[in-house]
């Protein structure tokens, strides 16, 4: 008699990787084929083989500019975290602060931040500062909003439980409220991180003499489309690395619960 239900074996990791790799490969082949077949000129759309070649051959130049972009992302995102999370925390604990800061937050969010770029040039010139500032401004909002949502998600019963243990406000925050908020905070960080990359590039378009965004503008001006695409490849790589760095941190900090919810929220961007 067969009583045991056979479990479906989980797909082998090699197979799980094969599908996305194949799909990307197919896309690249299609691109290469279309460009060659239709004889599309290289200054319109270069074939991926050329782009890959230049992305490697020009790597000293691209690396130098990438570093500049990476710094802007790291500093801007870092500032957004270091300022955004405490602000959200204060908003939860102080109603007066909440009401004072809320209109400013919303104004800052609806304002198209790119419109500030010319001002930044006047105030800070073409260096690192305007890039960091733009990155910070763009990454800030999703971090604050998700941190707020997370810190509000705590169950009142959990807080009552802590009070019945004689717990202090600080203990409630540290032991209950903050850990409850972590999955939300991380989804904010993931969105914030993807926004930060956008912020740095946009600032480099407008107000910079270094960085991959600057390379993009310059290469396009000289109709060097292969270099444009090579810079984009580098940007994609940087975006991936930063995104997965945040996700890795999430895996370390968020224990005992499925991170599906935050992955769903963060990965769409």
């Amino acid at each position: 008699m067969q009583t045991e239900v056979k479990k479906k074996p989980p797909a082998k990791s090699s197979v799980r990787w094969l599908v996305p790799v194949l799909s990307i490969l197919a896309l690249l082949l299609l691109w290469e084929g279309v460009v060659r077949l239709l004889n599309i000129p290289i200054y319109m759309l270069p074939p991926p083989s050329k782009v890959a070649h230049v992305a490697v051959a020009e790597s000293p130049l691209l690396f130098r500019h990438a570093l500049s972009t990476i710094w802007a992302i790291l500093l801007g995102f870092g500032l957004a975290v270091v300022i955004g999370i405490p602000i959200a925390t204060l908003m939860i604990y102080s109603d007066a602060f909440n009401r004072a800061i809320y209109p400013i937050l919303i104004t800052a969010q609806v304002l198209p931040k790119v419109a500030l770029a010319p001002l930044f040039i006047v105030w800070f010139g073409f260096g690192l500062i305007p890039k960091v500032l733009m990155t910070f401004l763009i990454a800030f909002f999703p971090i604050v909003v998700d941190t707020l949502a997370g810190l509000s998600a705590v169950r009142p019963e959990s807080l009552m439980l802590l009070r019945s243990m004689g717990g202090s406000r600080w203990q409630s925050f540290w032991k209950v409220r903050l850990p409850t908020a972590l999955p939300h905070i991380f989804s904010g960080l993931k969105i914030g991180m993807t926004f930060a990359v956008v912020g740095a590039i946009v600032a480099e378009f407008v107000a910079s003499e270094a960085g991959l965004g600057y390379v993009l503008v310059e290469a396009r001006a000289s109709l060097n489309m292969v270099l444009v695409f090579a810079a984009i490849i580098w940007l994609i790589a940087i975006g991936f690395i930063f995104y997965f760095a945040v996700e890795y941190a999430e895996r370390i900090f968020v224990k005992g619960r499925s991170t599906k919810r935050s992955q769903e929220l963060g990965a769409g961007l």
Partner: protein
Amino acid sequence: MDQTSASFIDIRSVAKVYQSDTGEDVPALSSVSLKIKQGEFVSLLGPSGCGKTTLMMIVAGLSAASKGEVQIEGKKIVDPYTDIGIVFQNAELLEWRTALQNILLQMEIRKLDINTYIPIAKQLLSQVGLSGFEDRYPDELSGGMKQRVALCRALVHDPDILLMDEPFGALDAMTRDQMNIDLQRIWLEKRKTAILVTHSIDEAVFLSDRVVVMTGRPASVAEDIKIDLPRPRKLGIRDSSEFNAYTGHIREMFKDLGVFTND
């Protein structure tokens, strides 16, 4: 027996009025008086929304009474009372902590030495049939298991008072029966002063020394019934005529109070 042990918890004409969002008064409790002796097991039985949770929170010092007061050992409660263990309807386990870590939260918050309490916590877990589940996260536990862990957390610091607010309300009937057996056994061992809020007439009669029947909102005490059944009680006692005399009487009371209609 001296005066203080005669009434360990003294609920004196406690009333509670909430404000609704529109500013109207919502009376939840109208003058409840109740004396509970040390080591007594008392159930609060009443229709949903009548104010049982409110009363429990006032006893724990987690919510203030609008009128009247609660005294524990002769002292008026103004702050949260901490020599207490509380079990809520939802286990309220912290999902990033294992079963054992959830229980030891008591120690962390109270700044007690954790290593001293690890064996105690493990022993409690084994008493509720959860040995080997120390390192499981709440996500990996069934509803009944979570509630057992919550019970361990409420007992690990050996409090004077155990408050349980519909702790088994979300469990299926069989799990619930088992929990009743386990709870009685643990209570017989430790003899905590226990207050259990429940919807189940059977559960209240099975577990309690006294069943306090409450009226609809705003609640007051309709009847305070002493349950004279020998302990330890077995599940089979629910088929006995003595048991059914109690439950039948309570059911009649609820009918009179308008809780059951068209019966």
